[in-house]
Amino acid sequence: MTKTRSIDWIKAAPWLATIGLFVIWELACLVFQIPWFILPAPTRVAYAAWEFGPALWNNSLQTLWTTLSGFALAIVFGLFLGLFIGWDRRIYAALYPLMIGFNSIPKVAVVPILVLWFGTGWIPAVLTAFLISFFPIVVNVATGLATIEPEMEDVLRALGAKKLDIMTKVGIPRSMPYFFGSLKVAITLAFIGSVLSETIAANSGVGHMMLTAQSNFEVPLVFACLIALAIEGIGMYAIMSWVEVRMTGWAHRSGFNR
């Protein structure tokens, strides 16, 4: 036999691309003789990661913990506020511009204020993660409620349904795919927020570690931190995508929300 098993190229493609990127990077460093303090080769980065393994691991866990805490706050608050805003058109009209205004503030500008209130450390990082990530949750949940088909509302209202009936039977289940869909965006933002705050005002976490490595001129370690962040980010995104598909299967199969 010449061919035993065909390769699933779609499955293999992301791995091949990633490996390819590192190979090109390594070769480029070799061929162009790029100094390690400008762009260290992947092998050098890997060595740094191994050398500082325990510290890198602990700081990654710290960042993960911060991100998840901020994310959890964002879920609770975002769901609540989204339901509140979507409940009534008037509330929606009143609060939507405020929300947009709030969201357009660059969150870097908020960190100094948080430090002023809570000092440096864990709390401002969690709050930054929270502040940056609750917005998509709110908007998505509110949209799910606000886009109930008017015919559906008519059918139920004619039967004497109260607002609460319409919300529990139609609005809230309807907004769930929007909610779960927003989680992967939100977790990515929460991650950005926590790292952002860690690089400005913290004494642990990958963001802080990068800053320290940079001031000690440990360039390979800076890159190792960067790659650790990328891995963490991909992992969280993947988990949230999986949750989305698991929780809202009907929405995917029925073509809802497209």
Binding site: M152, R157, A158, K169, F256
Partner: protein
């Protein structure tokens, strides 16, 4: 007194911005006898859907009076069932559970909904069978074709045994064959259960085939300009639609509509 009475009704919608609100219907008079089947036809935007909302108590007249079953309409009229062009099923519920939705909401069923779950289920399945959807209750609505969804939507409108059925262009989005099949479904249901029916449609053949009486409305603001009794004998067969007596009525209505649009 008729079952549904609409007397000198005008409806003006709330103004949007600085434009003054649309006057949807004006001096509208219409009465429907208990158990009869009437159709309302008219140019697009003449206030047919507004009429439905007035009769079901979802909207209130700016002036005039609406009574249903001898009572002034001041709020939702829960003895009505409704179906629209868009079947609007909830995709996360099985078809059967979609059809049961009114029972979860309307009095007095909502109080006994949990207790009567098994009986309700049988009712739904019997109703599904009567519209030709035997055994389809355990599918999700998006697994059904457009015509099947519309049948299910009819079931949802009828599950609480309403005395008044309101149909707002329910077959408008279906192909010609499916539409004629559904005409026969609704004809049989009406013959069997005798609920008063108001059908809004832009299909004159549909109106003549199903109704005892057809109201023609003018362009906006809508008013009834012609009231035409359809005295074709029942039960009506689909072949009737190819006969001259049928075609004549359709033709007559068409000329009224043409005038209404001028």
């Amino acid at each position: 007194m008729s079952f549904v009475e609409i007397e000198n009704v005008s409806l003006r919608y709330k103004p949007q911005g600085d434009e003054e609100g649309t006057l949807a219907v004006e001096d509208l008079n219409l009465s429907v006898e208990k158990g009869s089947f009437v159709a309302v036809v008219g140019p697009s935007g003449c206030g047919k859907s507004s009429l439905m909302k007035l009769a079901t108590g979802l909207n209130f007249p700016t002036s005039g009076k609406v009574t249903v079953a001898g009572q002034d309409v001041h709020g939702p009229v829960s003895i009505t069932g409704m179906a629209f062009q868009n079947p609007v099923m909830l995709p996360w519920r099985l078809t059967r559970d979609n059809i049961m939705l009114p029972l979860e909401v309307v009095e007095p069923h909502r109080r006994t909904f949990r207790r009567d779950k098994a009986a309700n289920r049988e009712r739904v399945d019997a109703l599904l069978a009567s519209v030709g959807l035997e055994g389809q209750g355990s599918k999700y609505p998006w697994q059904l074709s457009g015509g099947m969804q519309q049948r299910a939507s009819l079931c949802r409108a009828l599950i609480h045994e309403p005395e008044l059925l309101m149909l707002d262009e329910p077959f408008g989005a279906l192909d010609a064959f499916t539409r004629e099949e559904l005409w026969q479904v609704i004809r049989d249901l009406h013959a069997e259960r005798k609920f008063t029916t108001i059908l809004v449609t832009h299909d004159l053949r549909e109106a003549v085939f199903l109704a005892d009486k057809v109201f023609v409305m003018s362009a906006r603001p809508g008013r009834v300009i012609v009231e035409r009794d359809v005295d074709l004998p029942r039960p009506r067969d689909i072949d009737l639609t190819y006969e001259k007596s049928f075609g004549d009525i359709v033709q007559e209505l068409r000329s009224h509509i043409a005038k209404a649009r001028e």
